[in-house]
Amino acid sequence: MAEKPTTPTRVTYDYVTRTIARTLSTPSRGYFLLLGAAVALLAIGIITLLYLLRYGLGLAGYSHPVYWAVFITCFVFWVGIAHSGTLISAILFLFRSGWRTAVYRTAEAMTVFAVMTAGLFPLIHIGRQWYFYWLIPYPNERGLWPNFKSPLIWDEFAIGTYFTVSTVFLIMGLIPDIAAVRDLATGWRKKLYALTSIGWTGSNEQWRHYTRGYLYLAALATPLVLSVHSVVSWDFAMALVPGWHATIFAPYFVAGAIYSGCGMVITLLTPIRKLFGLEEIITVKHFENLAKLCLLTGSIVGYAYACEYFMAWYSGNPTERAAFWYRAFGPYWWASWTMIICNGFLPLLLWIKKIRTNITALFVISIFVNVGMWFERYVIIVVSLAGEPFTKWTNAVYNPTWADWGVMAGSFGWFFMWFLLFVKNFPAVSISEVKEVLPPPRAKPSRVHA
């Protein structure tokens, strides 16, 4: 990994260990307030879910022909959030990007918790949650197996694999850092970290197998991350609904996922950096690089929007044209234009270096990125189903109800609760990998890097 001679000398190995280990000290009142807010949101979600269980999915706003709505929107939204974590931890690892080391742990933890959140929504959406295991191929009394030609089964395999692999990837990365924390901790924490670091000492044999294994895990996670959102997009693209049935969907969804994920990483890192005093480890440079990733993927998303509308017009297919006219100027025009402004035009601000290096501005933009990306999924799912050629079967304009919003609020609470618990109990920034990009202590100046 490249060494940066420009790093200030104050940031030594010891400084890195102690600064990051300090983030695990007794939490402040602010932390408990945030955690309390997350748990309160989760409670709203749980109560709503209990109502849904008791009275059925009719409480959600479903109305013919819109039977995929906010729950599926949230599912795609959270899976999308998950993507930048693996991008930063695996793809940038293979590209040998030194800057990823300071931000990848946060992104990876975000990935795991976002997949955990996303996975709940198909279960909520099916209505009879107690039959979820029908998705799993198991020998049953009628000799039935799942239909492997259905994209929904591909999705189950893709999300299941993604959750498993991103979890083991996160845990693998954590082991050397937990060991570093173990060697500083006292009391019950020392016992916890001694157990969870499974005997890590940093011996040459451990590093030899670990670094090799990590390389292969990254190499496996790289195609996986690109496949997962492609498979999610095929849930739609394999159907014949105008607005869904497009070959552009896989790359379009993957770019959108990374765009929203980078947005969420910025949203999460800004308060963490402040709260934990990590300004010298997570620098403006890191934020700028994340903003550049947002700019790149946001531009791809904007291009995909343009392509969709162009293809609808250029195809000459009247139904396709009507569906896209409905999308832009129908009763849901506000959702479409929120999406186009937040995802198509807002990232263009990031061309300006002043904005890219201003953390407050980035924080605000990152929130709009996620608002925009939520609406993108809403537009694709709800508005395509409500629009042409289905309007003639519509009873009433679809609108989400309190049950939809309650479950969605609960999902944010669930995600932030896990994330907050994680950052206080395990190193939220990689200790060993941040050290890797520092010049190592030497008795004589290095011939290569001096």
Binding site: P137, E205, E433
Partner: protein, 182 residues
């Protein structure tokens, strides 16, 4: 150290190995010591470092980790299992959907791909765990210092009382800031 049940203790805590532990503050002095130890004919010593460094790997000259075989075998197994479950389950309950053949390969590629990744990743983890466990058992229970995960490098050289003095002077010559016996 925590007490473990006896079978776990036998597995994870092999009998102690006598030897010398040196603590180094710099990377280049550590590398120097590794070269001197290898020149003096030592092969079974352990190097501790807070981060993986290619210089240490090069100085030790060890072969590439066998973990890659685990990845390969796991990946091939996953791909085969993916092909098997889709094709066999379709044949076991044949239903024609969408006018496609009962066993149609293109949609099954998705399952085969995901299973390749899943099994490849899990067997990679297994490979890391097994290989490090075997290495730890070969080395025996050896001295360790909590500073090795922070900012110090270390070398443990297995040595009986007859060779201890010689090893100690070699390590001190190389620039160790501290040498301990255990």
């Amino acid at each position: 150290m925590m007490a473990l049940p006896k079978p776990l203790n036998d597995l994870f805590r092999p009998p102690p190995t006598p030897g010398m532990l040196a603590v180094f503050a710099q990377l280049d002095t550590t590398l120097d010591a590794i070269k001197k130890l290898r020149a003096a004919g030592h092969t079974d010593f352990t190097v501790y470092s807070p981060i993986p460094r290619h210089e240490i790997e090069d100085a030790l000259g060890q072969p590439v980790s066998p973990v890659r075989m685990f990845t390969l075998v796991g990946g091939i197994a996953g791909c085969s299992i993916g092909a098997w479950i889709t094709l066999w389950m379709s044949a076991d309950w044949p239903i024609v959907t969408g006018g496609k053949p009962v066993g149609s390969i293109p949609p099954y590629v998705v399952i085969m791909f995901e299973m390749t990744i899943l099994f490849g990743a899990l067997s990679t983890i297994l490979g890391i765990l097994l290989n490090t466990l075997f290495a730890a058992r070969r080395a025996g229970t050896i001295l360790y210092d909590p500073r090795f995960t922070n900012d110090r490098f270390g070398i443990f050289v297995p040595a009986g009382s007859d060779k201890a003095a010689k090893v100690e002077s070699l390590l001190r010559d190389a620039g160790a800031e501290e040498v301990r016996r255990g």
